[in-house]
């Protein structure tokens, strides 16, 4: 008996040691980005695989003609489709899925790295129901195919072109299609998402976490002078895409926030050179704006009414209700005089040396706004920038989807949105992974920053209206946010250790942690608007004296703060174990998005045998077993084994 036990034990040990090595020979995992699952208050969107992943043979579909070929192919084995990004829309995905046995999709660029003429997986009017015009008929994003908001029942993965494996996967799919024989190349996509129901269900079952992050804002020049009116300069901090890890949003978001940060640096220098402005300038970058204006809505709610019942140890934090910083208490909502929002400004219309920008206002919802474009036009003259007043040429003009809506929903405030488009978006890749560094012009962003800085100085009543712009900072920031997180600025401020591929996706809200892109924006904004840096080395803010933050390894004094970007329908229960409480805003606010939890996501490539060969092996096994029985029995005729 003990021998049997030892025998089984040894077998188990050896099997564990062996299996690890064999698995790596059979499956090659590929750098890839999954489409994941989100939930809102009513339904689920995004993709999921089955619990153990979905596997099939690779098959290329790179053009409309390939779709017909595929339907003629009539194969019974499950397929993983290697899809060209240009075909990434709900119509094609649903058609393929409903008519054939498809286990998943891999989106892989065609070998020569050419982009389709347009690809937007967003809504035609992004965030319409959360904004100022819930019944609008305006189409801001005509190329949008809303795939990001569909529920897809199979896994969808993206393989970046820059990865050397990409072409390999496409070539393997093509070799499958061109040869009849086996072995064929297969893929297994594992991205099982735990979320089983809309937000309130999956939060209760702890299968998901609310989307959100940390907004960041900075008072230019010094601590807030509460007697002054406020000029607020606003931009989005986050972007989205079907593949969240590739939500680069170069034009959609990076252009605007970089222009805002660079303008903030110029404004801060002007403040120091020429003295205080007549109005208080505040620069705010809102996180989670792609998901129903999470950051700006909470910011507006908090500066209107926030009653802290329990302060944290550092006095700046409030524990009940939770807020990472209480500095916003110095901002009086009623003092906000003007809001300037920088929208998409990465790729301007250019004729000769002259570029064109558009100033969007809505004088009905925000009386007094129609006077604002003139300030930009005046500032633009010396910069060769033509600023067109959109409202003057369109009757009943609406504001494009923007953060100012969160303010205007509460109170009419003079506001303007500066953007590269007059009507529909000119960005062909809005809300897709293709909105990358090739879709943005650093020089244009610098020029916009210059225009914004000059105009804001005028609006704030500074004695100067011309400042110098740090064009180098613009290109550095654009490189970091849209090309590679491995850059000088992340080394300096975040200490490295980040993934290569930058993403502007807001991620899930966490009371104590800040996403890389949010921290980079905060730290750079802090650094360019700071009062002074001490020589005290630090690794976190807790190493520094009260009031100072740890920026680039030194304790630094400044007026830049974080602010939570979490749905106003949810309260974080800091004292009650870290859950979320649905408050009375819950029903009114559909923007309570949550992201499903998952264990791991992996895309593996392998070689597969034909399904018929399995049956051959099985029948061969049965025949051989019977034959050996017969042989042993026959030998036993000469040598009677069974005799006792």
């Amino acid at each position: 008996m003990w021998a049997t036990t030892v025998l089984l034990g040894l077998c188990a040990c050896v099997s564990i040691v062996n299996s690890a090595g064999v698995y790596e020979h059979l499956y090659t995992s590929v750098t890839s980005f999954p489409c994941t699952r989100l939930a809102n208050t009513t339904n689920l969107i995004g993709c999921t695989s089955s619990k153990n992943g979905d596997a099939g043979e690779l098959w290329p579909i790179q053009s409309e003609a390939d779709i017909d070929d595929f339907h003629n192919h009539k194969s019974r084995t499950a397929k993983i489709i290697v899809l060209s990004p240009s075909l990434l829309n709900a119509k094609i995905i649903n058609k393929l899925y409903s008519e054939s046995k498809i286990a998943g999709f891999i989106v892989s660029p065609t070998g020569n790295d050419t982009y389709p003429t347009s690809l937007s997986l967003e809504e035609e009017h992004p965030n319409k129901k959360y904004g100022l015009y819930p019944n609008s008929t305006v189409v801001w994003n005509p190329k949008g195919n809303t795939l990001s908001y569909d529920q897809i029942h199979i896994p969808v993965y993206y393989i970046p072109y820059t990865d050397y494996v990409t072409e390999g996967v496409l070539e393997k799919a093509k070799s499958n299609a061109h040869t009849d024989g086996y072995p064929k190349w297969g893929a297994r996509l594992s991205s099982w998402m735990a979320a089983s129901g809309p937000t309130s269900t999956c939060l209760r079952r702890t299968q998901c976490d609310p989307l959100g992050g940390k907004s960041t804002w900075s008072a230019i020049g010094g601590s807030i002078d509460q007697s002054k009116d406020i000029v607020l300069l606003v931009a989005h901090l986050d972007a989205t895409a079907l593949f969240h890890d590739k939500a680069i949003g170069a034009d959609a978001t990076v252009s605007g926030k970089v222009a805002a940060i660079v303008a903030a640096k110029a404004l801060s220098q002007a403040y120091r050179s020429y003295g205080p402005f007549n109005k208080q300038v505040i620069v705010a970058l809102f996180d989670g704006e792609s998901w129903g204006y999470l950051g700006s809505k909470r910011f507006v709610r908090d500066i209107q009414s926030f009653n802290c019942k329990q302060r944290g140890a550092t006095e700046d934090v409030c524990l009940d209700p939770y807020s990472i910083s209480m500095a916003f208490k110095d901002i009086q909502f009623d003092k906000i005089d003007t809001i300037v929002e920088i929208g998409m400004v990465g790729n301007l219309q250019t004729t000769g040396g002259n570029t064109t920008l558009y100033a969007h206002t809505d004088n009905t919802k925000a009386p007094g706004s129609s006077a604002l474009p003139a300030f930009f036009q005046a500032a633009g003259q010396s910069l060769n920038i033509t600023v067109n007043d959109v409202a003057s040429s369109h009757s009943a003009a609406e504001l494009p989807p923007s953060s100012v809506m969160s303010f205007l929903l509460k109170k009419p405030i003079k506001s303007v949105v500066i953007a590269e488009h007059s009507g529909p978006y000119t960005n062909p890749y809005y809300g897709s992974h293709l909105d990358d560094f090739k879709n943005i012009n650093s020089d244009h962003v610098t020029r916009v920053a210059q225009l914004i800085a000059n105009t804001v100085l005028t609006l704030a009543g500074s004695s100067s209206s011309n400042v110098s712009i740090d064009a180098n900072l613009t290109s550095q920031l654009i490189y970091c946010f849209s090309n590679s997180f491995h850059c000088d600025l992340t080394d300096r401020y975040l200490g490295g250790g980040l993934p290569v591929y930058p993403t502007q996706y807001t991620g899930v809200w966490n009371w104590g942690s800040v996403s890389a892109q949010s921290k980079l924006a905060h730290d750079v904004l802090f650094d360019v608007t700071k009062s002074n840096t001490t020589n005290t080395a630090c690794s976190t803010a807790s190493d520094c004296a009260v009031g100072a933050d740890c920026i680039a390894g030194n304790c630094t004094y400044g007026w830049t703060h974080y602010h939570d970007a979490l749905s106003i329908g949810l309260d974080f229960d800091y004292n009650g174990g870290g859950g979320y409480i649905e408050n009375d805003e819950w029903d009114k606010n559909g923007a309570t998005w949550t992201e499903s939890r998952w264990d791991s996501t992996v895309l593996e490539i392998y070689q597969a045998d034909s399904p018929s060969s399995e049956l051959v092996v099985l029948s061969f096994g049965v025949v051989i077993t019977l034959a050996s029985m017969l042989t042993v029995w026959a030998i036993g005729r000469y040598y009677p084994f069974s005799r006792s």
């Binding site: 049997t4 050896v14 062996n18 064999v22 499956y27 399904p611």
Partner: protein, 250 residues
Amino acid sequence: MTFVGFFGCILLAFAPAFSVFLLVISRNAQLIILSIGGSFFWLLSALLAAIWWYIIPPLRTAYPWIIICSIIFQEALRFGFFSLYVRAEKGFIAERERQTASLTSHPDPLRANIAIGWGAGVAHSLVSYVTLLWEYSGPASYFSHNCSVSIFIVMAVQSFCFIVLHMLWSIIGYEGFVSRNPIKMSVVVLTHLCASFLTMLNMASCGAGMSMVVILTLGVSAYTFYVCRGSRVYHVSCLPCFNCTEERQK
């Protein structure tokens, strides 16, 4: 591949093991004990080989030397087990003479050695094949260079052969051990080395290793018939020996 292929390979690899167990070993309780003993000694040799592999770092990637060392351990323990068995045999015989009625009859040496070899062969295939085969239950397979036959099928055929070979080696080896015949003993060691080195061809070629192991198995089978025919150890009978009626009558 799926479980269909998985079970196909299991049937293919263990066909001789199933048949011999069902038709020979299961008929006698002592044979079952002997087969467990054979497995246990084979596993001990694998354990010793693993320790040896671990304590000598240069050996870890030198595959030919790993094979040689591992076979030295396997054969040393095989003959170690034989010497134990021979001692026990004397006791069994004494016991049988003293006490006429025993629970199960004492098996003759040929069947006993088939059981010992069966145990070693099954342990060998369980450890070196089934643990790898488990990965085959997923969608992937593995193909050696320019080969359209999965390596798992190639290895199933080899496992089939190794189970048969272990039984044959046990028969030849015991005969050589008892009759102090160095040729028979070295045939066991050399053919074992040969078969093991042939498995190294699996990664490089398609089926060459497999077919040569099959040929080797047929050769060793023929040699076993030759050994049995003139054997005094297996005096009870000789396998299809059509011209040894005299011996049988003795």
